[in-house]
Symmetry: C2
Amino acid sequence: MKVILVAAISLDGFITRHDEPGSDFTSEADSRYLGEILPRFDCAVFGGRSYRVAPEWMRTRLMPGKLRVVMTRSPDRYAGQAERDSFEFTDGSPPDIVDDLRSRGFRACALLGGGQVYSAFLQAGCVDELWLTLEARLFGNGTPLCPGSFDLSLRLLSHQPLDGDTLLLKYAPASPGPNL
Amino acid sequence: MKVILVAAISLDGFITRHDEPGSDFTSEADSRYLGEILPRFDCAVFGGRSYRVAPEWMRTRLMPGKLRVVMTRSPDRYAGQAERDSFEFTDGSPPDIVDDLRSRGFRACALLGGGQVYSAFLQAGCVDELWLTLEARLFGNGTPLCPGSFDLSLRLLSHQPLDGDTLLLKYAPASPGPNL
């Protein structure tokens, strides 16, 4: 199973504009692109904070019919909202989550954030590729892409415009597995 | 006179790795590229902090013979180190600095950082283009490219690889002049 980190960032590396929740700053080109690629994944992982920002959207419109896994310290709190094979909550580590999904036959997992989830997977060596939408914006501050303290080298796989000002950049970690 | 913001950043938007001063993390490709472009500028502006990290390098090897202007709150403190038309210290605002350089006949100014200097010029609408070397690295934390709180939209002018993993991205502010 491949794990693809999918994120839209400002040119100065933020996944939110200042302290605004969500990613309303992203371009129409990014929305179209997400609409094209998300159906190709059979599962997705995101964090409890992302879920709490837009629970109904996450439950009903984000990859309907596919498995969505929410990482949270308190899965029991959400037990009543879970649906087997389509909506689950876990406090497992990134390697545990990846092993579980792989063993259940999933093939392609989209890692949809937020920053804490990206960092946890990156630091555990559990990301195969990063697909980054680079918006032509500068915010000065916001939620960082992957908070922490590490030095992860990547290989550039491709770069292409999504529209006139927005770029799609694809990278892979330079070394396979845990490398921090 | 054109003012070009020149910076190397990690993929998550930092101009330093963690709290290490300077930009030792940058690639050989970035060093070669700087060696090619800096001689095309006839003046450069950078901050007092950048000067204090490597004063001798700034004085003797950074664009020798060209005018280098250091932005500092205490220009008097450095009066003995100034040399007319080649090394100056100022507490002027970005518009004042740009007006002064233009009136003296300079044609191309490289804005070399750090983050506070980039932010001051961006927020004052005093940047014509941004030439960003995007290194294929993730640090989690470091000195932000342009600290502050704003929302500046840019136009993508070009994107090209400097080597296999490093990209050179050129942008211009979407609106001319102060726009924050």
